[in-house]
Symmetry: C2
Subunit: 415 residues, 2 copies
């Protein structure tokens, strides 16, 4: 079980979480709980570091910020004991949760869960701070913001859990953002791949890295609301959305939807380079420097140039990397040989996602027609095995999501 | 160097502490720094534990409250790095600081300072959270409130420090409480034994346990103000009060005062048992149960009884233990065979302290005469090698302290 910062904000809420956890044990489960810091606490600690030195040492930053989850894990153990449960905390260095040394963005390498499993079998509820680990040289590390979801999946994998229940502010994964489409439906099941592609919907629900890890380790993850009535029956009976493998989903006796959901992402920026020489190696000259700087280039289109032997190249990068991308490209202007750079942050990526997608052509033509009928202009297109994405003007985002949600028959039937 | 919670309250003050520390390194010293949590933080964390469960598990309490010093040690390392210093934090479990398992009131058993010394020799400033350690079974322990002074002395002993500078809210140890006697003088030197006896003055300055440890380990402790100008020269040249051994003090070429200071203690309670049988074993029947309950009995006087074969016995206990003491004595009423118990919390203990005290008789007679001249009635007397204490009515505390401060010639000469 994993509880986020909103669920852990203050001792009253922590006592509530303790009741939810205890009920799972009472229902016959062995339970490990991964907790976030109290809502706002990590921000407070990060600000302290920035105030002490804007160029803070990530190793010491980790020492400071890891304390937030240390506090909530101790408090949850205390609150569980108050309910008569046998509970104790294990900090990252105590298990240990071994990570690579990259401070402030460490990756979990291994969790030694032997002691944990032995104690859980004796009926002890294990409480583990999320977000933190220990490097090979015995220092505190943290996994980067939102890392507690990844901690939870990693612990679930280490103890070979039947299920990893992630309690969040929402009660599951929806066909699209319910704030945009009132008729969005909660999905009963979704595959890892779909969940990754639904990132713009899912990012508010689960950290993307945790989904990747769950897929790699085969951990069945359930997303459910932490705001259920704490006198309600155990979580088994009030399902949220279950994230499972494609194989497991195939095995379920249910009608598969062609399309699972509609995602949108406003955090992309478009860059167009005009009059790039249309010759071998030109593209490598553009994307080489960006790849070296670990900037993730997504959609790429090469337009027909106005003059012979020249072409316009358009692609998208994360908006946060736009300034750095422009600097790198300007620096490589001679090598690349372009005329102008035209940046544009007024774009959004809309994606139609579904493992049941049989043919891109069919899905894409429905998409293009639905958008064209409402006057939404498509600036770029990209596809993967389970999605079709288009780049549009940002102002049309909500309209496009609503139109597509209806076009693919995802709207909930009126009650 | 050790800095308390007031000095660490917020990043601005932590940056100030960093400048004070850096100056010591610049003056040619190898430096380790022990830090408290930010002022108010430990109270906040303790309250969380109480709210989670009034009968909290001390082991989990330790996990929660130890986080306060973890935060400040990381932040001070960051602030030192901002000044160009080479600095890093070592948490209690990283050195480790080994303690007995007694959670929330652990005692330091051993500090493995090998890595610390090696790094300090390379010019690294070591930052160590006070108050915390690790038990034999690898769990977080804390030393009890005010334990950071003890941590500092223990680290100083482990690295064989030339000096342990404890920066506090005051600029040294005074002949008495300056809030009572405006003419109180700052002492240049004081012995460990005197410091222990001056507890009622010294308790606001240094935790008593830390003084005992310094005496046992022969650590030279200096008490000085953390509110010195941070552009002032290094601490060597702006001394506070140096706490040293009797031998070192003897070796100093200076005139010794007969009396070092006047202490007062309002936290004692007086208990009188009337008509106790005046026979062998009667006293053992009284103090046996109190000793078993680890209640510290201080002054004891046996009055002349009204009837033959009976006597009144009066003694003091810490006011905090009064209720428990009364319960224990009532339970043993049959065995002891007293008539009535008369408790009295309206008392204060005034002590005259000085290793230079040649004869108790001379010191005591000065004391009794000075108090009698001002109408202060003495209820009990006790002496140790370096002090004479009297018990008086609490309302006369300040008067008695002022009278004695003058009587022993301790008043500062007017500027």
């Amino acid at each position: 079980m994993k509880f986020g910062g909103t669920s852990m904000a203050g001792t009253e809420r922590i006592r509530r979480v303790a009741r939810i956890v205890k009920r799972q044990q009472d229902a016959g489960h062995e339970v490990a709980v991964v907790v976030s810091a109290m809502a706002g606490e990590t921000d407070r600690l990060v600000n302290f570091c920035r105030e002490a030195n804007p160029l803070y040492d990530p190793a010491e930053y980790d020492v400071v910020v890891a304390s937030g989850e240390q506090v909530t894990s101790g408090l949850l153990a205390i609150a569980l004991q108050a309910l008569g449960a046998n509970a104790r905390s294990w900090l990252g260095w105590q298990l240990p949760i071994r990570t690579v040394e990259a401070h402030a963005k460490a990756r979990i390498e291994e969790i030694d869960a032997e002691a944990l499993i032995a104690e859980m079998q004796k009926g002890v509820i294990a409480v583990i701070p999320g977000f933190q680990g220990m490097s090979e040289d015995g220092r505190v590390t943290t996994l980067g913001r939102g890392g507690s979801d990844t901690s939870a999946v990693a612990v679930a994998a280490a103890v070979k859990a039947d299920r990893c229940d992630i309690y969040t502010d929402v009660d599951g994964v929806y066909t699209t953002d319910p704030r945009i489409v009132a008729k969005a439906r909660k999905l009963t099941n979704v595959t890892y791949e779909e969940m990754l592609e639904l990132a713009s919907v899912g990012a508010k629900v689960l950290q993307t890295r945790s989904v990747g890890l769950a897929m790699k380790e085969g951990v069945r993850v359930q997303v459910l609301s932490s705001f259920i009535d704490d006198d309600a029956p155990a979580a088994d009976t009030i399902p949220g959305t279950m994230i499972v493998s494609d194989e497991e989903l195939e095995g379920m006796d249910m009608e598969r939807q062609l399309i699972t959901g509609i995602a949108h992402d406003k955090n992309e920026a478009k860059i167009t380079l005009t009059r790039v020489p249309d010759k071998p190696g030109a593209v490598a000259n553009i994307f080489g420097p960006l790849a070296e700087a670990a900037i993730n280039v997504d959609m790429i289109i090469q337009n027909v140039g106005r003059d012979k032997g020249e072409t316009d190249v358009t692609f998208t990068v994360p908006a946060a990397d736009l300034a750095r991308s422009l600097d790198l490209l300007e620096a490589a202007k001679e090598t690349i040989g372009f005329n102008r750079i035209i940046p544009d942050t007024n774009v959004a990526k809309i994606s139609v996602v579904g493992v049941g997608m049989k043919s891109h052509a069919g899905v894409a033509s429905t998409m293009f027609k639905a958008l064209a009928d409402r006057g939404v202009n498509i600036q770029a297109i990209s596809t993967s095995e389970i999605k079709v994405s288009v780049l549009i003007e940002e102002d049309y985002t909500e309209l496009a999501v609503r139109v597509l949600h209806t076009a693919y028959g995802l709207d909930a039937v009126e009650a």
